[in-house]
């Protein structure tokens, strides 16, 4: 009895409420006349699996681009692990441990799968030109480690036998898995996935979700993922953040969000007169 209580207390201590790994405050971005993101504010707790949902055009992917340095916000602040990141370039943000994937996969098509993986590994001295000139073999040891890690990870995603194939020969689903595996090679602390399940068969999708859970519990990786599959969102995330028209309109546990009126309106009605109709249904 007391043991169980202690374990429960430990569990809550391990994922303390309020220790936020990432915070975005009032992020704005305008493209021409379109206000794509208008004051999005959110927090992501360390060690959580947080889903980011919202109707098409809500600004979810734009928001991802804004917080990973691919776009520069017009206004607003983004903080990762206590450091402001809103004006930093993507590669710096990635090196800090905040790694993203893309909605439309970016497999490096004319490179073998294994090279896609090994590319992502951090701390490879052989990526510096001065090192390959002055210490021509200094990178071999790290390369061997990275190769081993890459094969292990590919194995998790059923891609090990394709290691030497060009990434461009992979199917859409396999590319999606490769992109996730590649992002994991970068040893992220915070992983942002843009529709990771789209185009993956359910068996592999489950494997991917299991792996996310394992990474969270074993390595303490935090996840923020954009997803349209409500079954996945409701059953596999700790928290759900809902965006609509460039703003965060709801934020809470899956069951809270599911019954939130604003969310239902956003999904079914849009603004104005139709909202009441949708609320009623």
């Amino acid at each position: 009895m007391t043991d169980a209580a202690a374990a429960a207390a430990d569990a809550t201590a391990a994922s303390p409420k309020g220790r936020s790994l990432f915070e975005a405050t009032e992020i704005h971005k305008q493209f021409g006349g379109i206000q794509a993101v208008r004051g999005a504010t959110m927090e992501v707790e360390e060690g959580s699996i947080t889903a980011l949902i919202g109707p098409n055009g809500a600004g979810k992917t734009t928001f991802f681009n804004l917080i990973t340095g691919f776009y520069r916000p017009d206004r607003g602040k983004a903080v990762f692990d206590g450091r402001e990141i809103q004006s930093r370039p993507p590669y710096v943000i990635a090196r800090m441990g905040m790694v993203r994937t893309f909605q439309i996969t970016k497999a490096l098509a004319a490179m073998p799968v294994i090279d896609n993986m090994m590319l992502a590994a951090p701390d490879q001295p052989g990526e510096r030109f001065t090192n390959i000139v002055f210490r021509p073999l200094g990178w071999r040891k790290r390369e061997a480690e990275v190769h081993e890690q890459a094969i292990e990870l590919l194995d998790v995603f059923n891609l090990a036998k394709l290691a030497e194939e060009y990434a461009g020969t992979l199917s859409g689903g396999q590319r999606k898995l490769l992109e996730l595996a590649r992002a994991l090679m970068a040893q992220p602390r915070f992983l942002l996935l843009d529709e990771p399940m789209a185009g993956i068969n359910p068996t592999l999708g489950r494997r991917l979700l299991d792996h996310m859970q394992r990474l969270r519990s074993e390595d303490g990786v935090t996840f923020l993922f954009i997803e349209h599959d409500m079954e996945v969102v409701m059953n596999h995330s700790d928290r759900v953040i809902v965006m609509a028209e460039g703003q965060v309109i709801a934020d809470g546990e899956p069951h809270e969000v599911r019954s939130d009126k604003a969310v239902i309106d956003a999904y079914l009605g849009g603004g104005g007169g139709t909202a009441t109709g949708a609320g009623a249904s």
């Binding site: 691919f70 590669y91 098509a109 490179m111 510096r128 461009g168 992002a183």
Partner: protein, 327 residues
């Protein structure tokens, strides 16, 4: 009436293949273009940046070396690293603002930058002597060339072509550079370059500073351009603006296409084939005037390139799979 045997005599004469003086000079040009295209290969084949201004780096290398040596009285050997540094600096100056542009805009910027160099060389007469060009920078090289020649004569080959030492040095450098560049591209550094070629955003999302790698690639291309420029200048013994037309860059691209992208040995074979065909066709004996034959050489080269595109688009050594998937 024409003698029918004469018409069928269009076959190449035997002397065409034994004229060692002639083939030495073809070999030098081919070797210079290997060096020239080695940097292009790094840019186009490995980094995916469309550098159309390679001749500009060649011009800067050749002019800096020639002016420092002949007009400012510098030591020839000291002028070489300075000329390479000048070419790299120029590469960074055009790369910094324009490498962020899309590939096709970058191509336009580089072609314009190279033309700007040539036109400055043509008009800044106080510095470059304008169309008369710069002479008298080759003394140090000539003495080295003489000792190489003596050494070969000592080995027992008495009628060494006068350009043979330059041939040896050119190919020594060409092979050395190809070897170094192909080693470099097989390191993790080269892997990042290929990732930038495939998808810059993916590389950036994985923590790679794509812009810095593109600049590094351009700086290395500038280095090979400058080295090709030295050899070009030593071959001609003078440096004039007219030798640095955009056509030189395009010829470099023809070498790349012939040899295949993302392969350094392809560059060597491409250059040898291109220049052997182009120069070897001088020996064609046709009942035509010389100017017509000169035009015909380029037509035949054009057909060779078209045929290659049709039947072997990846070039001699290019990787077809990589080419198709890369799109």
């Amino acid at each position: 009436m024409t003698d029918p045997t004469q018409i069928f005599q269009l076959a190449l004469t035997f002397e065409a293949f034994t004229d060692i003086q002639f083939w030495t000079s073809v070999g030098i040009i081919a070797g210079i273009f290997v060096i020239f295209a080695t940097g292009l290969q790094l840019n186009v084949g490995f980094t995916g940046i469309q550098n159309f201004g390679q001749v500009g780096f060649m011009a800067i290398g050749a002019y800096t070396m020639a002016i420092l040596t002949a007009e400012s009285g510098w030591n020839f050997w000291l002028s070489l690293p300075v000329a390479i540094a000048a070419a790299i600096a120029f590469g960074l100056i055009i790369g910094l603002p324009s490498l962020r542009l899309r590939a096709d805009y970058f191509a336009i910027v580089t072609i314009a930058a190279a033309e700007a160099i040539r036109i400055v060389a043509l008009n800044a007469r106080d510095l470059t002597n304008g169309p008369q060009g710069v002479f008298g920078f080759a003394d140090s090289w000539n003495s080295v060339s003489d000792s190489i020649e003596e050494f070969i004569v000592d080995l027992g080959w008495t009628d060494v072509p006068s350009q043979f030492p330059l041939f040896l040095v050119t190919w020594g450098l060409a092979i050395g550079l190809m070897f170094a560049f192909s080693r470099m591209t097989r390191t993790p550094w080269g892997r990042v370059l290929r990732a930038v070629r495939e998808d810059e955003d993916a590389a950036r999302a994985l923590g790679k500073n794509a812009f810095s790698y593109k600049l590094q690639s351009l700086a290395l291309a500038a280095t090979t351009g400058a080295i090709a420029g030295f050899l070009f200048a030593l071959n001609l013994k003078f440096v004039v603006p007219d030798e640095f037309q955009p056509l030189v860059t395009f010829t470099g691209y023809a070498v790349l296409i012939l040899g295949g992208l993302a392969n350094y040995w392809g560059v060597a074979l491409g250059s040898i084939v291109l220049w052997s065909v182009l120069e070897g066709l001088r020996f064609l004996e046709l009942p035509l005037s010389e100017t017509k034959i000169a035009a015909l050489r380029f037509m035949i080269l054009g057909f060779v390139l078209i045929g290659l595109m049709a039947f072997r688009p990846q070039g001699f050594f290019g990787n077809r799979k990589e080419m198709v998937l890369g799109d």
